[in-house]
């Protein structure tokens, strides 16, 4: 039985450590829905900073601190930083999961360092060649999970098939979608469309018992026609940044347009729209395919986003999402996963 604790990197992210600690406290707030107990969260960071910060916040008893004296900056090169800063919060928190002190890792720091460290230290689940980053958005009435969002920019067809299995498992286990429909992001709905990689991936996905709807296009993200969208990490990352930029742009344009009409209520009415497409609000991104629950929050996460990420991590541990992923992957055609 693996640990149900969550190692939280308190030092990573644009608003660390303040917003991260506030998020941990918010997740444990007895007045909130499904509050966590403080003992479930392992705070990883500089003890000299965290002790007074906890006292200042009148934090409840039960939080444990795992000391990590240094920090990997948001702009540091991951490979270099991981070699030179073994005592930084990301490697220390990841080590805590490896040693079984925790079952999940939540961090808002350097994405490359988190992906690299988690992949190398925790290793991949049986049969997985390359982990993928899954992000869940609310673009229609139901949540939509997109993967990979940038961990694997040159995937094999088998990786894409596995992302379909992993994304569907996440949707079912953590988002409560009963029979998640999986689509492959392409430039047309016909089977003959797209690159050779996508044609192969489409055939592999069809051979699984997933509810695979075939190719979907960019516009299908907004129609509720699909629950999981599989794509390579390059396209996924472009899409994610485009959505983020476009949402801000559109709302800015709308506000400018409305300004002339004395619509003072508009900013409040529209603020929640921005949240709907902000994946940070929904608990960040999950690195799927590694042996542990790993959540990579957006660097600019505030306390609410951190609390949501902790809740998603708790749910993923409680339902045993990785156990279900391993079962799911065992039921699909073997890939070239053994190779590095």
């Amino acid at each position: 039985m693996s640990s149900k604790r969550i190692a939280l990197d308190v030092m990573g992210g644009d608003n660390a450590p303040g917003a991260i600690l506030d998020g941990a406290l918010a997740a444990c707030d007895p007045a909130s829905e499904n509050p966590l107990t403080p003992s479930r969260i392992l705070l990883v960071g500089d003890e000299a900073v965290l002790r007074p910060a906890l006292a200042e916040r009148n934090a409840p008893e039960g939080f444990e601190i795992l000391h990590a004296p240094s920090v990997i900056g948001m702009d540091e090169k991951p490979a270099v930083a991981l070699r030179s800063k073994r005592d930084a919060s990301i490697p220390v928190a990841t080590g805590a999961v490896k040693q079984g002190l925790a079952g999940a890792l939540v961090g808002m720091g350097n994405t490359g360092a988190m992906v690299g460290c988690a992949t190398v230290v925790l290793g991949t689940l049986p049969g997985v060649r390359r982990p993928g980053i899954a992000v869940t958005l609310r673009l229609s009435d139901t949540p939509l999970t997109l993967l990979d969002m940038g961990a694997n920019i040159a995937p094999h067809a088998g990786d894409l098939m596995q992302y379909g299995v992993m994304g569907a498992t996440l949707q079912r286990d953590c988002m409560g979608v009963e029979n998640p429909r999986v689509g492959l992001l392409n430039i047309g709905e016909e089977k003959a469309k797209g690159t050779d990689l996508l044609k192969q991936a489409g055939e592999l996905l069809e051979s699984t018992d997933l509810p695979f709807v075939g190719n979907v296009e960019g516009g299908d993200l907004f129609t509720g026609a699909v629950d999981v969208v599989v794509t390579d990490g390059f396209t996924g990352n472009v899409v994610l940044k485009l959505l983020e930029g476009f949402a801000g742009f559109m709302l800015g344009q709308v506000m400018r347009e409305l300004a002339g009409h004395g619509a003072d209520w508009a900013p409040t009415a529209l603020a929640k729209l921005k949240k709907n497409i902000d994946y940070a609000e929904y608990g960040g991104a999950l690195l799927l395919g590694v042996d542990g629950v790993v959540i990579i929050g957006h660097g600019r996460s505030d306390a609410t986003a951190v609390a949501n990420a902790l809740r998603v991590a708790a749910t993923a541990l409680d339902v045993g999402v990785n156990r279900h992923i391993v079962t799911g992957l065992a039921n699909v055609p073997a890939t070239d996963s053994a190779a590095g």
Copy 2:
């Protein structure tokens, strides 16, 4: 001296032939800015349909009709249709350009058929291996040209460099942007980011005398930081369809949010926002790199969009955009263009 006439496929598109003819008339309306003369437009389509339709509209004298009795449908497979329907409006209009009866081709029909037919019949400009589709949007105060939007889903690095040259020429010649800045769509700004293809393309673009700003990310499309964004046809097509879907989604959400506030003026105020990101409004997509001016309008183009496409075609012919592209390509490193 090549012809300054524009062959217009009157039979292609969701609203053909009515909206296409209306567009031709609108472009020649003496009350409009820079009206075209009817003799400049060669209407390609079924004479038995077009003659009465022109009469019904009290069309001015001067329009000439080039008879093409059949039509390639929007959903027909391009290769099959082009082989079996040699008398369809797309091949007949393209043939008119090849024979020098016209210098430009404008159509709102089957995109694949237009790209395939234009590439094979007209051939590519000297040094060009694969043409690319350029689309111009208004996402900030200045126009933004994106290419390739789907003609070349597996480009070589040299193709991407050429798209930079062609896109910059289009911006300068047809959009009036004096010193257009070119960026390469990637998943990070650092040179080491992205696939091997993008690293090579970045080096090639840097070796040109273009104002190359390096890698740009999805969010940079909205900041006005760049005038031309180069990408492969797969990513470009996903991006274009995503923008289209997202704009409709966001405005729908905004309208729903505003509905509760009795803001009856909102639909009108917001309608023009949708136009700003609608490339059909700006004259459609240009197939750059073929020996002729080829504009592929959106299938759902209305008369305004058709008129705009005709105006862009006229400008491209008047300024000699292809002559400038040939000069520009002669000044950059040779690519593997000679190969097929």
